[in-house]
Every structure is written in structure tokens, then in C-alpha cells.
Symmetry: C2
Subunit: 307 residues, 2 copies
């Protein structure tokens, strides 16, 4: 029986503009590396190699809580040591907590001979999201585990569907401000206008249809959010300018990645994606805000077990 | 130049349960027949051959208003005579007004040498829906003109997308009670809970994905409406019983057709669709309510110009 494994855990973009809490996409870049070792006695040990000040108590750790849930279901006298080398900055809005949660359960499942289904693994990983944001949302952990673009049709009961999509180039900018997922949830209104909800579901259906028909123009037209973005974008300096200038430069569209502060843009080709990156850098340089950018593509595989 | 034409105008099911105002589907049965003649002088003449007491004033008639809109854009000194032989009972909830609106503009466009695009025709036909219900909704006229299942991503600006779907058998029951579209709209709340809206958009994305992946089980799971149906179904006696018994009998799912009172159910095969019809008849016979049923399939062509 294999005793240890290293996994590569992709960043993810949740919501995809109009699909709040139901759509997510895995990215080729950035990603975390995690090493998971089987222990002969019960317990979870979390070790961090990256210097981020995350809780070492497994019940409070986004990689630990999912493993505790898994162990409870297993009813075997074993444990895991997890060594995290995080490259996805916590709080950046591209699924840092999800990468830890998804990576730990995929790695553990590999060591257990793939006892559990992908859907089981999402179910366990949700405990990590609960620790991170107070809410079990699957729009990062599902694409992180499945790869590609995933729909979470329902959380209770869990219903995850992969959505085929054409090649897309993704540009991400992370302005170095803090937006806590819990805060970003709290500012949302509990009620929405029916007419806005209708506009939103038109866009969601349009986006899904655009992906599956490989209709880039339809994807672009459907990347519109009349409910969440108008509220959350206020927390992100430069948002409107980045969005409008990137679209002028040929991006299909984009918006807030998850609860922010990262902003992502989709483009049809890598040249446009690079141009979009240049614009993002210009905007945040002129505002005087530190930032990181990535130009990447959709990750199709999800968490990858390294040889 | 051809002087007259007869068209066959399909019934349509709007909303498709979770897609309020954005999804619709054309049916093979029932359909209206309409004859349209070119007149050398301005004006619209509406003649009814079916005995339904619909307004003869073109501005108040669902077939007339769209033609007036078309003539205004044409700026030619011509007119149309429309002879309507309606088989789709007005107020039944399967797009009777839409069939008139769509049929008249498709027929007129044929006589004009197809000057206008399908999208233009939907734009004109919306004037008929405005006359009928006070609201320009395209979820009947779009599928009536395009055929198949259509998404109306947006009304302003108009954005219509055809959604491929697998073969489906449709059973419709029309309990003979009156539900006015305008009333059925009025009882809806203007605001909805964000958590319900999220559940709804998960179902919409699931339904569209199910159609395009030809995944019948996903279609079935996604035919859930947590916003409109709980309110509107109160206007339809026997609704809950019909729905639960039809699903027990193997229907994938279904719900209110448009604003009701008709109820539709989707099935994978014709045997199930016939069994569903039997159940519908039993329920309404036991309630003592007159009713009509149809067992049909999706119409792929939309309004058909007859030879």
C-alpha cells in the first residue's frame, strides 16, 4: 500500500459572473502542492511549508476538516499527515481554501485505493469551505476536484454536472487588498427583485449554452451579473475600469472571481489574454495598488496525483 | 408575387418549470391554421372562422397588433387580411395568443419574400403578447417561430438562442378553468429570496445542460421550480396530485404550462406519455372537472408555411 503521495491542486474561479454559488472553473495556474502521508494511528497532523499563518488545528484547517469528515466515515484506525506548500494566496479569491480542502481528500483517497467517488470527495471538502467561510459552498471544490467547468445544480442533495466548454484563455489579477469571503457574503441582500432574478437566469442559461455550443459571442453576452457584482464590486478598487478596458481590448467578458478581490477575464486567444493582463497591470499601477497577474487556461483534470 | 398563404402555428409550453420568462418549447399538437392575404391598400382585416370571441379590431387582436408593427417598419402602402381558424383554446396556457401573433407575421413575411429575420418576427409578435397579457414576453412566440426549445436570454435587447434537446414526449392536460395570464402574473411576489433564486438558477443550468447532454435523469432532476409554481399552482385544482402521480408513473417531470391552467409532463417514451395521459384523465374525472389532453412531441420547425 502506497504510504505517501504528492498532489497538485488548481486554483479555481467561482461564480463565473452570473452563476453565483452554482458555477466554477479550474485554472492551470496557480496551484498548491500538498504531500499527504498515511499514519498508522488516528489523528491528523498539518504542517505548513509556505509561511502562511493558517491554523494547525485540523478541525480549524481547511485541509484538516475534510480529512476528519472522511475518517469519520471510514471507521478505520488510521490518520494522515499533510504537508502544505501553498502557492495560491489565501484570501485572493481564486479558491485557496478549496485547493487545500480538495487536495487533501483526493490525496487521502488515492492512498486508500480510491474508495470514495468524486462526489464523496466534494462532500468531504465542503467541510473545509465551512471552516474557511462559514458556508458549505461547492463552486470552488467541485471544479477543483472534477476539473473544467462544473455546475453545482444542488448542494443538498449534492448534484454536480460537468459542462463541456471550448478552449478559453483566462487572465486573473489579484489586487493586494483583503476581502473576507464571510464579509463579501454578508453585504449581499437576502432578497432580490424577481425581474433581476429573471435577467440572471437568462444569462446563466445563455452562458451554459454558449459553453456547450462553443459560441464565444454568446458566452460574452451572458457574462453579466445584475445581482451580486453591483454590490461586491464596490469592495474592489478599479473594478469598473478594469472590466470596461479589458472588454474594449477584446476580452469576452469577466468579473469578480469568487468573492474577490481577484478579477478574471476570459479571452478567445492568448494574444488578447496577454493584452488584458497589460491593461490590468496599468490600471493597478496607476491606482498604486500592489497586484499579481496570471495568464492561464482552463484546467481539465482537477487535482492531479503526481508520480 | 404570391398573394395568399396558409400557415400552421404550433402550441407552445412557456417557462418549462424553472425557466420563468426565458424558456419555451413548441409542440406538434395542437396547432392553429391561419390564412393571410396581401391587400393592395393599407389596413388589417381580421376574420375568425373558429367561433372564439376575440377582438376584430386589429390593434386589439393578437394577430393584428404584430402586423401593424410590421407595416409601420415596412412603410409600404399594403395591408393584410387574416383568416384565423384557431384550434388552440384561448386561455388554455399553451400559447394560443402566441400562435396567432407568430403565425400572422411568419405568413406576412413569406408573402413579402422573407424580408425580415426570425428575430425581427419575434420582435413584431411581441406586440401580440402585449395585447394579450399586458407584457411583452417571448417565451411562447420565440419557440413558436423558431421551433424546438428556445432560450430568451434577454428581451431588451432581444437575444434568442435555440437549445438542442433529445426526443421527448409531451403530455398536456387542459383542465377547463380560466386562469388569465395577467392575473397569474399579478399574484407573483415582486421579490424573491436570494437562496431560492440560487436554487432556481442551479435548476435552469441543469435543465439546459440536461437537454444538450441528452441526459434524461438530469432533465428530470432539474424540472423543479421553487419560486413561481408554489404560488401559481394554487390556482389549478388537482395540480399536486397530477404532478406526483405522473412522476410516480415514470414521467421525467413537468409542471404548469406557461401561466396555466394546462399542466405538461415530459416523458422519455410514448408508452409513458400515454400512461401519464391516463393518470391526468383519472385525476380530473375524479375531481369532476372537464378537461382535454394531448400526447405529442416537440415541434422542431415552428410555424410552417403550407404548400
Amino acid at each position: 500500500m502506497q504510504q505517501q503521495v504528492t498532489v497538485q491542486c488548481p486554483a479555481t474561479v467561482a461564480n463565473l459572473v452570473c452563476g453565483f454559488d452554482i458555477l466554477g472553473m479550474a485554472l492551470e495556474q496557480p496551484y498548491d502542492l500538498m504531500e499527504v502521508r498515511l499514519l498508522p494511528e488516528p489523528g491528523i497532523i498539518i504542517t505548513s511549508k509556505d509561511g502562511f499563518p493558517l491554523p494547525a488545528d485540523p478541525a480549524q484547517n481547511t485541509a484538516g476538516a475534510p480529512l476528519l469528515a472522511m475518517l469519520e466515515e471510514l471507521d478505520q484506525s488510521i490518520g494522515f499527515e499533510v504537508i502544505i506548500n501553498k502557492q495560491i494566496k489565501p484570501g485572493s479569491g481564486v479558491g485557496s481554501s478549496a485547493a487545500s480542502a480538495a487536495g487533501s481528500v483526493v490525496a487521502a483517497n488515492h492512498l486508500l485505493g480510491n474508495k470514495f467517488s468524486k462526489e464523496d470527495l466534494v462532500r468531504f471538502a465542503l467541510f473545509g469551505e465551512k471552516v474557511a467561510s462559514g458556508v458549505k459552498h461547492a463552486d470552488n471544490v467541485a471544479p477543483c476536484i472534477y476539473g473544467g467547468i462544473t455546475l453545482i445544480r444542488s448542494i443538498f442533495p449534492l448534484d454536480i454536472v460537468s459542462i463541456p466548454a471550448p478552449a478559453l484563455h483566462v487572465t486573473v489579477v489579484h489586487p493586494q487588498i483583503e476581502v473576507r469571503t464571510a464579509d463579501a457574503r454578508q453585504i449581499l441582500r437576502k432578497q432580490v427583485l424577481l425581474k433581476d432574478a429573471i435577467r440572471q437566469w437568462g444569462n446563466i442559461a445563455g452562458l451554459v449554452t454558449g459553453f456547450m455550443k462553443q459560441d464565444y459571442a454568446l458566452i460574452g453576452r451572458s457574462l453579466e451579473d445584475v445581482i451580486i457584482e453591483p454590490v461586491r464590486s464596490m469592495l474592489i478598487p478599479g473594478f469598473d475600469e478594469v472590466k470596461s478596458k479589458c472588454k474594449e481590448a477584446g476580452a469576452l467578458g469577466g468579473g469578480i472571481s469568487g468573492s474577490g478581490p481577484s478579477i478574471f477575464m476570459l479571452s478567445k486567444d492568448t494574444g488578447t489574454a496577454r493584452q488584458v493582463e497589460k491593461i490590468m497591470k496599468e490600471v493597478y499601477t496607476s491606482i498604486g495598488l500592489d497586484h499579481h497577474t496570471y495568464v492561464t487556461t482552463i484546467n481539465q483534470q482537477g487535482v492531479k496525483v503526481l508520480a
